[in-house]
């Protein structure tokens, strides 16, 4: 281990984990209301980022004010994400009600292929420039750590860097996580979502409009995906690889437990940390393993704690 890298990597990992957690929360949300594993969340996120970019480009024709561009682009993107969520639910997943798990997983995978193609058709395959963002990726808080009087450093490193864009992403992820926990616990619609998840027929018999609950949860998931897309794109730019980044959210969910928002948050941070901390290793092979560290962790979790840290223990032991 290069110990002097560890504190910095710790910060990087936690902040990266925040974004993963936001993606994970979107997947958990859909799972909690309709028991669907949404493999298309990453592609919804990508679509959200591209839509934001498109609306920003359109708005640039009318105004030069950066704040206005940002606000208009994000609000339009969020509105279209809501529409997209409703559309997906209505035309792709409602016909699948009652189908086996594999069909539903394949439906979301098919949707992700469709999104990939549509984005490539509409925007090309090259990464796009000029993404509207609050902070540029170089914009960061830097904390210099002074050396002792005799010149030896107090700790191993001499500065800590906190990129503002990543910090903002982390804060937004944390805020949406809290908001969703409160939403599911204290509001009527949140309660009806939980009830629907438990049992469709019983939920319907107490007067919950089940299709509307599904549509609503997909719409919220669309909003979360778009937020995640905007945050990720403001860090690493708009490209089709955004969707692949989001796949690392699945290990986060399994680690946290499928039903739990707090678990998804913690899982995301742990996954982010694992990705960052292996990069502090002295061994080159381990250093390169940052893109598979989540999946190794995933296998460990599956074998030893399949229900995750906060999940309900209703997995069938077979």
């Amino acid at each position: 281990m290069n110990w002097q890298l560890v504190p910095q990597k710790f910060i990087d990992g936690t902040l990266q984990g925040g974004v993963l957690a936001l993606i994970a929360i979107g997947i958990v949300l859909i799972y909690r209301s309709s028991e669907i594993f949404n493999f298309a969340q990453g592609h919804m996120l990508m679509v959200g980022a591209y839509l934001t970019w498109m609306f920003a480009e359109v708005t640039r024709n009318f105004t030069d004010n950066k704040t206005v561009i940002l606000i208009v682009a994000i609000s339009l993107a969020v509105i279209s994400a809501v529409a997209l969520g409703f559309l997906i639910e209505r035309f792709a997943l409602r016909p699948m009600t009652g189908q086996p798990l594999l069909s539903i997983i394949l439906m979301t995978l098919g949707l992700s292929q469709l999104f990939e193609g549509i984005i490539a058709l509409g925007f090309g395959v090259e990464p796009l420039q000029n993404f509207p963002s609050v902070y540029s990726s170089a914009d960061s808080w830097i904390r210099e750590i002074p050396a002792r009087a005799d010149g030896t450093p107090i700790v191993f490193l001499n500065q800590l860097v906190v990129p503002k864009a990543r910090f903002l992403a982390f804060v937004i992820a944390l805020a949406s996580c809290l908001a969703l926990i409160l939403y599911f616990r204290y509001t009527d619609t949140g309660l009806s979502m939980r009830a629907t998840s438990e049992n469709h027929e019983l939920a319907r018999s107490v007067g919950i409009r089940v299709p509307r609950v599904f549509g609503l949860s997909w719409a919220i998931a669309g909003i979360i995906a778009t937020l995640g897309g905007i945050l990720l794109a403001s860090i690493s730019g708009v490209s089709t690889s955004l969707a692949l980044v989001a796949l690392a959210a699945f290990p986060a969910i399994l680690l946290g437990g499928l039903e739990s928002f707090a678990g998804a948050m913690l899982g995301g941070v742990i996954i982010g940390l694992s990705q960052a901390l292996v990069q502090a290793s002295a061994v080159p092979v381990v250093r390169n393993s940052f893109d598979i560290a989540p999946y190794i962790l995933l296998l460990v979790v599956l074998v030893f704690i399949p229900e995750g840290l906060f999940g309900e223990k209703r997995i069938e032991r077979i």
Binding site: G117, I292, P306
Partner: protein, 369 residues
């Protein structure tokens, strides 16, 4: 199946009752088709078609497609054992193909083994790797298992890029797979490789179609339909799930070896990504999961559709040259995605089910629609 036979169609001997191709004409027809398809590459080998011929380009294009269809069907048969029969979702079939390709290419390069030996070796070796990633299936199922195989899909290509760089190609992401030679004849290019692929396909099809009817296949189906009931009937879940994983990975290994020797190289450069695994699952659903015909119909339908999408994309790209790149790459995922979604909604049991319905309607004519 006996209940579905029309009146008057009965068996006179136990051998006939047990045989897969139950009537003489089925036997003649199947082996006739096999022979005719097998003769296709010999058109070039015997000099009936050469590069001077105007239709040579079209001929090689078709041989290329046929070869791709052949090894894809082998991979799909493996996936069909695991997902279609045993009901375990696998998102890692492409990664197992990668393993098989590596084993075959390395064995041929360093040990000088002929392809007749490297393909079984690839099957056995890949099966062992598949077993490793099947181990979580002992404790989890459904979505959780899909995640375990997703992990395989990411970990295996990573290992090939980062371990034993001298042998596995390292960061280049590929090594050369030698041209297979049998009795001094070099099987170079898709046309020649099609002979090997097709013979392999015939062998795996015989194995697969008979396996379904044995104790092994019936145990797989019982695990899929109800694992608790299967265990009560004396089916050892652990052992049968691992067997399904082993067989699926072994078939993928065979397919990977065939693909590696066709493309003359193996590695992450050659597109063994998650998209390919998803494509395989999609093909299986479109073809019909858990059926004999599913892998055949799915692979033929989706690959022809895929090629159609490429041609469509290029045609439109000619009309709009400034958008060429976007048009060429975007049509394949759109066409595949839309097809998969339409099949999942309107025909979840796939083309095979449609075919059975068609056959039943034909037999019952004029009493059924």
């Amino acid at each position: 199946m006996a209940a579905l036979r029309p009146a008057g169609d009965y068996d006179e001997s136990y051998i006939r009752d047990m045989s897969f191709l139950r009537r003489p004409w089925m036997n003649w027809f199947t082996w006739g088709v096999v022979l005719i398809v097998l003769l296709l590459p010999f058109l070039e080998i015997w000099g009936l078609i050469s590069s001077a011929n105007p239709s040579y380009a079209r001929y090689t294009w078709w041989m290329n497609i046929l070869n791709r269809i052949a090894y894809t069907i082998v991979a799909l048969q493996g996936l069909n054992i695991l997902t279609g029969l045993t009901g375990q979702i696998s998102l890692g079939q492409a990664a197992f193909m990668l393993v098989g390709g590596y084993i075959s290419a390395l064995a041929m390069t360093y040990w000088g083994l002929p392809i007749i030996l490297t393909i079984p070796l690839a099957a056995v070796g890949t099966g062992a790797i598949g077993l490793l990633f099947g181990l979580p299936s002992l404790r989890v199922k459904g979505f959780y298992l899909a995640m375990a195989t997703l992990a395989a899909q990411f970990i295996i290509p990573w290992l090939s890029r980062n371990l034993w760089k001298d042998y596995l190609g390292g960061t280049n992401g590929s090594i050369v797979a030698p041209v297979p030679t049998i009795f001094g004849y070099e099987f170079s290019g898709s046309t020649n490789m099609f002979i090997i692929s097709f013979i392999t396909l015939v062998i795996t099809s015989v194995l697969f179609n008979n396996m379904i009817r044995t104790k092994l296949g019936r145990a797989f189906v019982s695990v899929r339909d109800n694992d608790l009931a299967a265990e009560l009937l004396g089916v050892n879940l652990f052992s049968y799930k691992l067997k399904a994983f082993y067989l699926a990975a072994a078939f993928a290994g065979i397919a990977g070896a065939l693909r590696a020797h066709t493309e003359r190289g193996i590695g992450t450069e050659f597109n063994y990504t998650l998209d390919i695994s998803v494509l395989f699952l999609g093909m299986l659903v479109i073809g019909g999961m858990g059926t004999n015909l599913g892998p055949f119909l799915g692979a033929i339908f989706v690959i022809l559709l895929d090629e159609g999408a490429i041609i469509l994309g290029e045609t439109i790209a000619h009309a709009f040259p400034d958008q060429a790149g976007a048009l060429q790459t975007s049509f394949r995922p759109i066409v595949f995605g839309v097809t998969l979604i339409i099949f999942l909604i309107f025909e979840p049991r796939g083309l095979a089910h449609r075919w059975y319905l068609f056959k039943a309607a034909w037999r019952l004519r004029p009493f059924a629609r």
